[in-house]
Amino acid sequence: MIRYLIKNNFKIISRNAINILVLTLAPIIVSAVLISAFSAMMEKYEEVGAFKVGYSCNHDDITDQYIDGLKSVAEGQGISFVEYEGTNAEEAVADYKLAGFVEFGKDSYTVYKTDENTAEGQILEYLLHAYYENMSLAISEQLMAAGSENVAENNAKDETIGSKMKVETADFIPAVDSTDYYGIIYMIYFSWCCIVCGAGLFTAEKKYGIEKRQMVSGISDFKEYLSKFIPMVLMACGGLAIYGVLSIALLDVHWGNIALSALLVVLGIMAATALGLMVYAICDNMVVTVIIVFMLVWVWGFVGGSFETYIFSSTSETLKNLSPIYYENRALVELSCMGESDYVIKSIICSSTITAVCSGIAVLAGAIRRKGGKK
């Protein structure tokens, strides 16, 4: 009966104080520190009102069209673009009291920011970045779709790009403060590190030959996998649930849709556990597993907004999309500040896929190691 094995493995895991520390106290401390460190900065973003930006460009059909689109998008964000021809960027900023300046080149642009208006500068940079990223995406989509269609139709479609951008980018800068952002983001980050929960159990099993003893009972590889997977997921869910309550009570984090957020976090935990178990099944060494998983999670966190907010990061959208943490971060942050998010579905699909694929590989690798190698 696998339920007794699951129950006892859960006891082993939960009787390890380190697990509670990693899952509850560590995220509380880290997010508390980051919230206070970044609160000043993020407040600045909220306080930013309308501002004026200068630009210069070489006029041609394409550039003009882009800039018109950009201008209308920027307008929606309270940013007005004013053209200053023939002036030097630095002089223009000083002379006309601009928050920043953009020089549009043939296929690049240069942003000038000032020391006084750092928040405005960041927003400007982000806006341009997001605009170009989405623009090129939209265009490539169109080119694919267009195929043999004629040029006139293509031109007509450019209009839709402009209006599509408006909606997209307006959503890009949600009003999230650092408390909500880091309070949410660190639950997710630590949930992806939950393989450490199993470290004590795996080490003991190996050190004392318990693995062998379980094998003598003829337990199937799938049950063996579940007997680790389920207790680890339960432990991580339990620990992070405590964190969730503390985050509301101590840090005053707003979670938006709690049920949906919880579902996403649980799915993330399942994916993280499956990933960890897969790496462990392959390399058969807990230290190496923790190093590999932590490195991966760090990279995913880095591009997905766990350190620098994804909202203002200059990481390309393509890179962000490679990070399961990004989908989860974005879904939860948007749930918190907007009450809904397109990323909920993306995150569910991403986590479920990782869980299924990694579990499959883990069971297979475990079977091969036990049957083939049989040390």
Binding site: M1, K11, V216, I219
Partner: protein, 250 residues
């Protein structure tokens, strides 16, 4: 008596090193079979191959006349393996340890509870059933290690050095229990470095060195291989004569 376990040309190599070399032994139902040998002789490896947790390089094991490949689950349930290492969880209480390993054989509910109590009683740990295994002394851990292999009522018990590092009382207790299990019908394979233990409980003994069986028989028969007058020699002297006095550093 019938043969319940037979190894056929059982061989294990690690790289080029032959650890178990063409082993052919037969274990009869109801006997206590002793396996002696210096460190590194290949005793544990042999036991592990018998329990199907180490794959033989060559050869096979037949248990109740059947092959492990086809009847794995059924055969394994008849086997009780007490490993040389203390394979118990320190973070679990004594009864939880027994529960974990006994439940692996599909035993559940009230029956499981009964078996847990029975196993703990058997090794004299009833009083300590609610204590964490990590708080146990060496001897208690050894006893718990045994209890974890008994709950599913195996008919073949494999003891790999169950008395390492424990006091005379605990050893005596374990010896008595092995004899009791045997009287109750279990067949036993037993390895140890304590000659007097082996002499006291084993009906037949094999001496293994460098992966090979170099002598096999009853204590009397083994002594006869070395001297005529068997009252003048101990099993230990027989062992040293047959395996030599050179230290084994592999």
């Amino acid at each position: 008596m019938s043969t319940i376990l037979r190894t056929k040309d059982l061989t294990k190599k690690y790289g080029s090193k032959v650890v178990v070399d063409n082993l052919n032994i037969e274990i009869e139902e109801g006997e206590v079979f002793g396996l002696l040998g210096p460190n590194g002789a290949g005793k544990s490896t042999t036991m592990n191959m018998i329990c199907d947790i180490v794959r033989p390089t060559l050869g096979s094991v037949e248990f109740y006349g059947k092959d492990f490949k086809k009847n794995r689950k059924e055969l394994l349930s008849k086997l009780g393996y007490i490993p040389q290492d203390l394979a118990i969880h320190g973070r679990l209480k004594a009864w939880e340890n027994v529960e974990l390993f006994t439940s692996l054989y599909g035993i559940k509910g009230a029956e499981l509870k009964k078996r847990i109590d029975e196993s703990l009683e058997y090794v004299g740990l009833t009083e300590k059933k609610n204590d964490y295994a990590k708080t146990f002394s060496g001897g208690m851990k050894r006893r718990l290690n045994i209890a974890c292999a008994l709950g599913h009522h195996p008919s073949l018990l494999i003891f790999d050095e169950p008395t390492v590092g424990i006091d005379a009382q605990s050893r005596n207790f374990i010896m008595e229990k092995i004899k009791e299990s045997n009287r109750n019908g279990a067949t036993v394979i037993y390895t140890s470095h304590y000659m007097e233990e082996v002499e006291a409980i084993c009906t037949r003994i094999a001496i293994m060195d460098n992966g090979k069986i170099i002598a096999i028989g009853t204590v009397e028969e083994l002594k006869k291989m070395v001297v005529e007058d068997t009252s003048k020699i101990t099993l230990e002297e027989v062992f040293l004569t047959l395996t030599g006095k050179k230290l084994r550093d592999y």
